[in-house]
Symmetry: C2
Subunit: 179 residues, 2 copies
Amino acid sequence: MAKDRKIDVVILGLLSHEDLTGYDIKKRIDGAINFFWKGSFGSIYPALNAMEEAGQIKSYKADDPGSRGKIFYHITQKGINALKQWLNEDQASNELKYETLLKLYFGGVEGADTAIRNVEVFESNIKSELEVLKIYEKNLRAEQDNEDHKFFLLTVMFGIETYEAYLRWCAKAKKILMN
Amino acid sequence: MAKDRKIDVVILGLLSHEDLTGYDIKKRIDGAINFFWKGSFGSIYPALNAMEEAGQIKSYKADDPGSRGKIFYHITQKGINALKQWLNEDQASNELKYETLLKLYFGGVEGADTAIRNVEVFESNIKSELEVLKIYEKNLRAEQDNEDHKFFLLTVMFGIETYEAYLRWCAKAKKILMN
DNA sequence: TCATAATATATCAAATTGATATATTCAAAA
DNA sequence: TTTTGAATATATCAATTTGATATATTATGA
């Protein structure tokens, strides 16, 4: 068997703050949590059906006119319990796949120039993503009122700390590759 | 369609250094590249068959007695070309899933104590993995003779740089969570 | 001799991705 | 006013990957 559906806890976590549609959930995932987690419609919609079947969430149709078949989901007590249980488990997987490092590891096949190019591509992407994270950070430090503000800020701080480490490494790597 | 089989380039990269069996490939993946890439038998064996079909690798049976049905794979020119082409493409995916950050992001549901516990679990795991990386680094700095030594060292340096950033963040996070 | 760990290949259900299909609503340009 | 394109919204599919399990052989050590 494959591992448990991890998308479930993402959905439960988001629904613990507000009722959302599947499309809303996708947008939330693509927003502030995008740099440490991803999710696709192909996993979200089937999970929503399975979780409603399991009684962790409850669907309802939007009744305001002109909202087509919009389906909102609300978390149940059972869902809240499942979310809390997961939060209290020590196990956490943290699966990382850096294609950039894979290219560097096998860099000997092509040589230093190609490797430098790959480091530069990575560096350029990280620089622009770091700017986005710094804007998030600024906004979070401004609105201290939000109850969950502290938790959101911590994840953004994680991103900034690691992205800055990436950039330091890029500089070192280029230096070594240029001899 | 799902994205291209990424396991292919891992296999090609490893076979560009030496002929290996599927089992050997799994051991290599579980070794020095484990902290930035993973792979399972369930993806390796089917990929080996598909790649031989595509002419990128060539299998042969070990003929020494007592080696059971051991099947070695050798990279072909076609395989080397595919590997080089991939190395020269700017696109690189770097997919990260930090369950630890997910728990922290939704930490408001349980509160600071649980969040601190989750940070501590992460911190403890990273500390022991960092020690392993430092041993790798020490070994790599000793054997300067290996042609690919520089490329291997760069990936390990990446690991050390980021893991140390993780630990700095853990300290900050615990401080913030304790108020 | 016997047990068990390591080696070795293979397959499967479940989870996930990335793409595609379909349809509606909204905003802006023609 | 119409139309065109972007955003919204749900759903499904093939391909990839994981993690587990099945099966069998060889090596090691008690």
